[in-house]
């Protein structure tokens, strides 16, 4: 209503040749996102609070479908010349966005040009590292981050007299005991087969997934995950699949109901699974760090993040960018980060917010919410654990999943499958390198 009056007033002003005063104009900032349910409410509240806090800018959040849909909508809109100002892009879209010089506005540049106070050191390096150049320049603004954790059904473990496993060999033993104790369709399982069993596994054991610091140092990266560790791990999974001690639960997270229903008592997936577990699990649960192989020197290293970040799109006016910069500062506020952390279960991105949540005793009752943070900050990140930046990552994951599925189905050996995944993946990386803007 107020807006319509304003429009009418502006029209009148223009008619009389006065021109609308620039001080009165509200600059609209379009924010496209992929959050549903409770997380969508968080987004709406953030936008509403920001709009109420000042009168120059108005952030308008729009839900554009799931992650790939949102990204495709943004790309299509860019091609048509009306991209949003801010776009939420999942972590695997990072390389594609980064390669699009001219289509995006790096956050560090945006902040400098808008004259907004911006200190990259206040953010948790384990999170921002994923979205920064090798020089530490922040390209996109981390919004919702999570990591892989191992969800455990405490009641079932107790019943089967099994300790919470810490290493992979212990996990396999635990799964065998659980299977013997009645979980005959699933001793343990997990979602996001490639994220958990290739990407995180490699980072957690400080072995490369790909050359050039997993692609962070250049698009001429080559996949290297067919090494002894990954092959041994997959071989074990294939072996356990035969007896359903391990049971494959699909490429994405559609199998997560198998944990909350009680079918799989041990389940590796994102820490963001918390909301569903809390709502649906009728048993005592916790989340512990991912298992590791104790014979690998220096393991565990640190985990890498999942989730999404906010990309600022290119080709907008200085005034609009100023508003975007103010909004990012608004999001970095300590109390606001604590709010996002508590409301969504995603990780806080600033050190101060983490400290504050800790000081408030937030993790006392729910220690499992700190697990991903402990994993991410376990050790100073190395070349192999800072993050991933591989072009065509969405489809790369599909190709890797295809090969892993063939190994699990017994059609290929683990080594053959991973060799093929590396080879097919490299072909796609070269294709991406050809089209990437130089």
């Amino acid at each position: 209503m107020a807006l319509r009056h304003f429009g009418a007033a502006a029209a009148v002003a223009v008619t009389f040749g006065l021109g609308a005063s620039p001080a009165l104009a509200v600059t609209e900032i379009q924010w496209w996102h992929a959050m549903t349910g409770a997380n969508n409410e968080v987004i709406v509240k953030l936008a509403t609070d920001f709009n109420a806090s000042q009168s120059d800018y108005k952030v308008i959040p729009t839900y554009k479908g799931n992650y790939p849909d949102t990204m495709n909508a943004g790309i299509a809109a860019f091609r048509a010349g009306n991209a949003p100002h801010i776009m939420q892009v999942f972590e695997v879209g990072t390389a594609t966005m980064m390669a699009a010089t001219g289509a995006v506005k790096p956050v560090y540049k945006l902040m400098a040009e808008a004259g907004e106070k911006f200190d990259p050191k206040i953010y948790l390096p384990a999170i921002t590292g994923y979205y920064s150049t090798s020089k530490g320049e922040m390209l996109s603004f981390p919004f919702n981050s999570s990591s892989t954790v191992m969800w455990v059904n405490l009641d079932e473990l107790k019943k089967a007299n099994v300790e919470i496993p810490k290493t992979w060999p212990e996990t396999f033993e635990a799964a065998k005991k659980l299977k013997a104790a009645g979980h005959d369709t699933c001793g343990f399982s997990g979602s996001w087969i490639t994220w958990v069993n290739l990407e995180q596994l490699s980072a957690w054991h400080n072995v490369p997934l790909a050359s050039k610091a997993n692609g962070l140092d250049g698009f001429d990266t080559v996949l290297e995950f067919n090494g002894p560790l990954q092959v041994k791990h997959l071989e074990t999974l294939v072996e356990l699949q035969k007896t359903k001690t391990y049971d494959y639960a699909g490429r994405t997270n559609t199998g997560e109901g198998r944990f909350t229903s009680g079918e799989c008592p041990i389940y590796l997936t994102s820490s963001a699974f918390f909301g569903n577990v809390k709502a649906q699990a009728k048993f005592n649960f916790t989340a512990v760090p991912m298992p590791y192989y104790p014979d690998v020197k220096g393991a565990p290293q640190n985990s890498i993040i999942g989730g999404a970040s906010l990309w600022v799109m290119g080709g907008k006016s200085a005034e609009e960018y100023k508003g975007v910069a103010k909004f990012l500062t608004f999001l970095s506020d300590t109390d606001r980060q604590v709010y996002i952390h508590k409301a969504s279960g995603y990780l806080p991105i600033t050190k101060a917010a983490y400290e504050k949540a800790k000081a408030e005793g937030f993790y006392k009752d729910q220690p499992y919410l700190e697990t991903p943070l402990l994993e991410l900050t376990n050790k100073e990140p190395t070349e192999n654990s800072r993050g991933l930046r591989l072009g065509n990552m969405v489809q790369l994951r599909d190709v890797w999943s295809e090969e892993i599925e063939q190994a699990l189905a017994g059609k290929k050996t683990a080594k053959q499958a991973l060799d093929a995944a590396v080879e097919r993946g490299n072909t796609m990386l070269r294709q991406f390198e050809k089209t990437a803007v130089k």
Binding site: F78, T96, Q395, E405, A409, V437
Partner: protein, 293 residues
């Protein structure tokens, strides 16, 4: 018979077809042209760098064994879906054609599945046949089938064929029923008087008279299996496990939208377009020449 209408001016007929032409041009020819152009380009997802590469996208496809595998798979799927859904629909139509009490009700109920959107069909079948959630999978396990379409490619393919064929049964049923009712009763009665038993009457009288319908439906079903199964595949298997349910259309989607490889994706759609043109061409030739309704 005189079919031509007489118009006083030359403008009026053109004006009358203009809206239709505009729609066809804007929504069919324009995108098709775009696809053809795109198929000669190598371009990043944002359209920031473009190189003209002649036929490289096509050559790349023909060098890719995965593409041939997808072609073979698509033809197999189409054949399996068409045959299973046609034969089942024909059986149902023949039965519903009999004078039964409440036949209207049966007929209506049999047509319902056609109103269900493909992704919903996918979800329905997932709920019935999901390895851990599915109602039917429990029975399958009980009779000793190691049912796991998440890992077993053949089972996943069977699942897609089942769901896709199920959805198409209603459509086929409708046409078969109409076809059956158009067969003159006198011919069937004459055959009966000559001593032909029901089975023989069906194969020597009904089936040949139904052949135009069967042929028409065969083409429609193949086109359906080529294109409209996308929603089912996307919700049920996303092409997996392995690549065992990646059809040509799914590959266009996954290479173009998920992989950002627009050139190859466009080249694939052009190839698909050619296939459909050929199919439709065959249909028109046969329908025009051999078949009279």
């Amino acid at each position: 018979m005189q079919k031509q209408a007489i118009f006083q001016t030359k403008v009026l007929p053109y004006a009358l077809v203009a809206p239709q032409l505009a729609i066809v041009l804007i929504f069919f020819y324009w995108p098709a042209l775009q696809a053809v152009i795109q198929s000669f380009l190598l371009q990043d997802a944002f359209g920031l760098s473009t190189t003209f590469v002649w036929f490289e996208n096509y050559l790349e496809l023909f060098r890719d064994p995965a593409y041939f595998a997808a072609i073979v798979r698509t033809f197999f799927f189409s054949f399996a879906i068409a045959v299973s859904s046609l034969s089942f629909a024909l059986l149902l139509a023949v039965m519903a054609d009999k004078p039964l009490r409440g036949s209207m009700l049966y007929r209506t109920l049999l047509i319902w599945p056609y109103a269900v959107a493909p992704p919903v069909v996918g979800v329905l079948w997932i709920f019935m046949l999901h390895p851990s959630l599915g109602v039917l999978s429990r029975y399958l396990r009980a009779i000793g089938v190691d049912w796991n379409p998440l890992l077993d490619g053949d089972q996943a393919a069977a699942l897609i064929i089942l769901a896709a064929a199920w959805k198409q049964i209603s459509y086929n049923f409708l046409f078969f029923l109409a076809g059956l009712q158009a067969i003159p009763k006198s011919v069937l009665e004459a055959a009966a008087i000559d001593g032909a038993r029901p089975m023989r009457r069906f194969w020597t009288v009904t089936f040949p008279l139904l052949s135009p319908t069967i042929f028409f439906l065969l083409v429609v079903n193949i086109v359906y299996a080529f294109f409209d199964t996308f929603g089912i595949i996307d919700t049920m298997t996303r092409g997996g496990p392995g690549t065992s349910t990646v059809t040509l259309v799914y590959k266009v989607y996954s290479d173009g939208l998920l992989g950002g490889n627009l050139g190859s994706s466009a080249a694939q759609s052009v190839i698909l377009m050619v296939m459909v043109i050929v199919l439709t061409g065959i249909q028109f030739r046969f329908v025009e020449r051999k078949v009279t309704y």
